[in-house]
Every structure is written in structure tokens, then in C-alpha cells.
């Protein structure tokens, strides 16, 4: 239904690219010849590592972890074990990766393993770069200045066009950010709806522009995503509060993100990021929920065409734009089979042809403006946490939202509706990525 390319995935891509580079190099050197491979660390990214290894014809034989909860469970078709219980012989090569690589390396050395002979640290270059940072080269600096100049020229053009009306830059292309931002924006201007706010919303994607129109923004300007996330943000960082545009989300103004650092150690939520930080509102203002247009006949027709039963349909939403969920097709199959047995018709929320419908369901490509009505007509929604969940949070139907522990940008503490005090009729599950099958069974039992 609603998928956007996401800048959030860039770190994942960095990691995968780094792993691929290392694996290709090690394969070329023959390091894996005649060896069984064991993985330690990067629990979240082990599927990616397996995929990369597979590209070189390699397979994983062992997975070990120091967390007792992650020992003795199925992962990639392998029963996981403790680090200490790994076979210590010349036929096994251990691949270490992830945030705790240094600690794991120390542990392995104490257990008698030797780096390069017995174990290797993957993507270590990425780790070093993140920890140490680096000094700016001349060509990079020139490029930065050029980009800031482009950003300023583009900003001046829009600022003149609207004669200095305050601007908000929504550079984040996800719908959820714009939706939550808009729930509270009217308070900044002492108004009761987004439509009454005298401000210009600068967006960076067609999808966010479309949502902005649905939400009632009077003045909307669209710039390219790269222009927003590169040029404008650099210009804003250089100029601070000296210009007439503000950042509509809490991130983007540098990696040393003070809000995120604080959120990681406290009880701040996604809602707080807008209410308290971006908009600077005091107290605890009530959200001003928007009304979506009613296109009942259109949605009814869509239901008929898809063969879905009103009130007895579950919309399954396995995809998210801002992270790659670990819930596999096999996990979803538990729900699909079980719900069909219980007499539900099922559709998969698909935002693009790349997003395939789950087996046993039909693909639903639903227009943004119909998402609320579509889900209400269905009667039930089960999905991973995505921006769509924000848009439908107030619908009159049964909703189940699944978060993933440890996944970037999918924390139930930060994004959870209960914690945020938003939405209604929402049941939330926090998938620890270990007991996913039992979570799916628990969800099924609710229907």
C-alpha cells in the first residue's frame, strides 16, 4: 500500500556492502576452503550475512551467541549454541560481526582462539569509522559547501514565493512522520486544524505530498529527496535558526543526534520527538486527528474485485519502508492458514510490484486516501510497525501491530502506540526475533 525508499536503510546497506567486500576478499584468498563456518554476533543481520555467504557458495554451519535466550533456538535452520560450546578445531572458521565485535574478539582470545587463524572480524572498517569519525578531505569539504549553496538557492526561491511564511522541511519520506507531526502542528499557530496553519510544508516525495494534501495543508512544495536530505539539511546546519525554515523531524541535522541519544536512554517517544522537540510545545496537547475523505463506493468496488468479505477480512501488512522485518513468509503462513480456517478472507498490503502478496492472500494496492476506509471495511489489520499503522491508528477495527526488538527504528518503547498515547483498539506485540512462531500463534488465537 504505502512504501517509500528510505534513507533509514542506508546504514543496513553500508553493513551489507562491507560484509560482501570482506567475504569476497576472504573467498579469493581461500580462507573458507574446507572450513565450516560459525557466526557470532549480528543476530539481527545474520540472514543478510548468510545471503552474502551464499553468493560465494558458502553456508553457515554454526551460530553462537552469548545471550542465553538466543541459545538452543532455531535460526537459519540451525540450532544455536553458546560461544563456549563451539567446536574448537581447524575445520571451523568463526566469523564475528556487529557492535560487540571487540568484546567477542577478547572473549575468543581468552578461549584460545587466534584472530585470522581461528576467527575473523567482518565489517571491522565500518566499526572503526563509526567510532572514530574522520577528518574532512578538501574535495569533500568543497562538495559540502556546494551542496549548502544549492540548498540555500532553492530555499530562497520558495521563501520569496511565499513572502516569508514560515517553512517546515519534511525531508523524511515516511508517511508516519508527517502524520504525527500534523497531529500537533496546529498548536504552534493556535489553530484547530492543519488547514488553518499559515506555513509552507516542503516535502520530498510524491507520497508525502499526497498525504499532505489529504491532511489539508494549504501550501505544499515538493523538492527532490536528495535535495532535501543533502542540500537543504546542510544549509540548515550551517545557518541554524537564522533562516526561515525548520526541521519537521527530530533527525537530519547531523549524526551526533542529541535527541536520539537521549531517547535511547530514557522514556522519550516518537510523539515526544514532535511535540516536545520539533514543535517545542509545552504540556501534553491532545492530538488533532484528521478526517479522511469518504469514498465508500470506490472501496466497496475494490473489495468486490478482490473477493474480500467486508467485516471478515484481515489486512496483512508484512512490509515497512524504514526497516526490513525479520518475520519470514513461514511465520506469516501460521496466520494465513489459521485465519483462512477461521473463515477470514485475506489480503496483503502491497505498496509496489516488489512487494509480493503472501501466499494464500490477494495483493491490495490501496490509495492513501482510502487506507482508513479500506481497513475499517475489512474489520481487522495485522502488520509490522510502519507508517501505515500511524495513518490507521484511529480506525474502528481490530488492529495488531508487531514491533521488533533490536531493529533500527522499530522499538516499541519509542514507536509504540500505547507508549505514545495515540490511536485506539490496537494490540501490540514485541517480537524478540527468537519466539516469532509463538507470537504468531498468540495473534492467531485473538481471532
Amino acid at each position: 500500500m504505502m512504501r517509500q525508499e528510505s534513507i533509514w536503510k542506508s546504514e543496513d546497506n553500508d553493513f551489507e556492502a562491507c560484509i560482501r567486500k570482506d567475504v569476497l576478499e576472504l573467498t579469493r584468498k581461500g580462507v573458507f576452503d574446507g572450513k565450516k563456518i560459525a557466526l557470532i554476533g549480528s543476530w539481527i543481520n545474520q540472514e543478510k550475512i548468510q545471503t552474502v555467504l551464499g553468493e560465494s557458495g558458502l553456508t553457515v554451519s554454526y551460530i553462537a551467541d552469548n545471550n542465553p535466550e538466543k541459545q538452543g533456538v532455531e535460526k537459519l535452520g540451525i540450532t544455536t549454541q553458546s560461544v563456549e560450546s563451539l567446536p574448537h578445531d581447524s575445520e571451523v572458521i568463526i566469523l564475528v560481526s556487529g557492535f560487540y565485535s571487540n568484546e567477542i574478539s577478547e572473549q575468543l582470545e581468552k578461549l584460545g582462539y587466534k584472530e585470522k587463524n581461528d576467527y575473523l572480524i567482518l565489517a571491522s572498517g565500518l566499526l572503526r569509522r563509526k567510532i572514530r569519525g574522520h577528518v574532512v578531505k578538501e574535495e569533500t569539504w568543497l562538495e559540502y559547501k556546494e551542496r549548502a549553496i544549492h540548498g540555500f538557492e532553492s530555499y530562497c526561491h520558495i521563501n520569496e514565493k511565499y513572502d516569508g511564511i514560515p517553512m517546515w522541511l519534511m525531508h523524511q519520506p515516511s508517511l508516519g512522520d508527517l502524520y504525527i507531526f500534523s497531529l500537533f502542528l496546529p498548536y504552534v499557530y493556535g489553530k484547530k486544524s492543519v488547514h488553518e496553519c499559515d506555513c509552507v510544508l516542503v516535502v520530498a516525495r510524491n507520497s508525502t505530498r499526497k498525504l499532505a494534501e489529504i491532511l489539508g495543508y494549504k501550501y505544499i512544495e515538493q523538492i527532490h529527496l536528495e535535495e532535501a536530505s543533502n542540500d537543504w539539511l546542510l544549509m540548515m546546519r550551517l545557518m541554524g535558526d537564522e533562516i526561515n525554515v525548520k526541521n519537521a523531524v527530530f533527525h537530519g541535522l547531523g549524526r551526533n543526534n542529541s535527541f536520539l541519544n537521549m531517547a535511547a536512554s530514557g522514556s522519550l517517544t516518537f510523539r515526544d520527538s514532535f511535540v516536545r522537540y520539533v514543535l517545542g510545545l509545552e504540556g501534553n496537547p491532545e492530538p488533532i486527528y484528521p478526517q479522511f475523505d469518504n469514498r465508500g463506493e470506490y472501496v466497496k468496488k475494490q473489495f468486490d474485485e478482490l473477493g474480500l468479505n467486508p467485516g471478515k477480512t484481515v489486512v496483512l501488512s508484512p512490509y515497512a519502508g524504514h526497516f526490513t522485518p525479520s518475520i519470514s513468509e513461514e511465520h506469516w503462513k501460521i496466520l494465513v492458514d489459521g485465519l483462512r480456517e477461521k473463515g477470514y478472507t485475506l489480503c496483503t498490503n502491497c505498496g509496489s510490484p516488489d512487494e509480493k502478496p503472501l501466499d494464500g492472500t490477494v495483493a491490495a494496492f490501496v490509495d492513501l486516501k482510502d487506507c482508513v476506509e479500506f481497513v475499517e471495511r475489512a474489520g481487522a489489520f495485522i502488520g509490522v510497525r510502519s507508517g501505515l499503522c500511524d495513518l490507521i491508528c484511529m480506525t474502528d477495527c481490530k488492529k495488531t501491530v508487531i514491533y521488533e526488538k533490536g531493529a533500527t527504528n522499530n522499538s516499541i518503547t519509542f514507536f509504540g502506540f500505547t507508549n505514545m498515547g495515540l490511536g485506539k483498539n490496537i494490540t501490540e506485540f514485541d517480537n524478540d526475533r527468537i519466539n516469532t512462531y509463538s507470537i504468531m500463534t498468540d495473534i492467531l488465537n485473538m481471532y
Binding site: K130, I131, R132, G133, H134, V135, V136, T140, W141, Y144, K145, A148, I149, F152, E153, C156, N159, L234, M235, R237, L238, M239, G240, D241, E242, I243, N244, L253, G254, R255, N256, N257, S258, F259, N261, M262, A264, S265, G266, L268, D272, V275, R276, Y277, G280, L281, E282
Partner: protein, 142 residues
């Protein structure tokens, strides 16, 4: 409010000068901490976290305004560089622009014009300055 290209170009020139000043310290630093305000709390907070900074980032160089140079001292292995306000403005312009590619620079400031982000954390989120400096600005997580 800046609204003409010449003002913006001036800001870029300032950033250039700031970069030159920062570059001159590259050889001797692991992390560069900017304490641009006449705010003793900032300086004291940095002082109390020197061990963690050294542990995480290597040698610490702290840039402070000349005005408070004689009021505080840091330990011997930390270099303090007092600068004039104009130089500090230039360094801040550079640091703000280059923050994500030179992550070894930490700005410890509550001046709204410079770092509204930190300002809002105190104003609206109920944290105290010390918490914001430690976790938010210096990124010390342990």
C-alpha cells in the same frame, strides 16, 4: 533573518576559516570538544567526563572562549585551546556543517542560535543540562 546570498556566503567563509583552525589541531587530537558558551556548567560537565572521552575517542582537545580560560584547568593530558569569539563562531560554523563527516567534533552548547536541538532538550523534555551534555551532546552511553 538571513535572506540574501552574500550573507550566506559570509557564513561559508566563516566555515572555511573554522575548518583551517580545526585542521591545525588534527595531529594532536582524538576528539575535539567545543565549549563555545560562557557557561560554566558546560565546562564542568566536560571536565567530569574526560576519562570517558579519552577512553572512547582518544586524546581530548577542548576549545573554550578566552573569557573563561583562566577560571578552570583540565588535567595535563588534555589540551585546552582558548580562542577569540570570532574564531569560535567560525569553528562552530564548520563543525555544524561537517558534523556527520567529522564525528570526532562534539559541540557542547545551549545557545539557541547554535544548537537549538540541545536547547529544546532542556526546555521541553525535562532533562537537566548535565544529562544532556553527557548523553545527548557528548554521546557517552555507558
Amino acid at each position: 533573518m538571513i535572506d540574501c546570498i552574500s550573507d550566506f556566503e559570509n557564513a561559508l567563509e566563516q566555515a572555511d576559516k573554522g575548518r583551517t583552525l580545526v585542521e591545525s589541531l588534527n595531529e594532536e587530537r582524538g576528539v575535539l570538544v567545543l565549549c563555545p558558551d560562557d557557561d560554566i556548567i558546560c565546562f564542568e560537565a566536560v571536565k567530569s567526563h574526560i576519562d570517558e572521552l579519552v577512553g572512547q575517542f582518544g586524546r581530548v582537545v577542548v576549545i573554550i572562549p578566552e573569557a573563561i580560560n583562566n577560571r578552570f584547568t583540565l588535567r595535563d593530558d588534555v589540551r585546552t585551546v582558548p580562542v577569540h569569539k570570532k574564531e569560535m563562531d567560525c569553528i562552530l560554523r564548520y563543525a555544524s556543517l561537517a558534523e556527520d563527516i567529522d564525528t570526532s567534533i562534539k559541540i557542547v552548547s545551549f545557545d539557541k542560535e547554535i544548537s537549538g536541538r540541545a536547547f529544546r532538550l532542556i526546555d521541553c523534555c525535562g532533562f537537566d543540562k548535565e544529562q544532556v551534555i553527557r548523553k545527548g551532546l557528548l554521546g557517552i552511553m555507558c
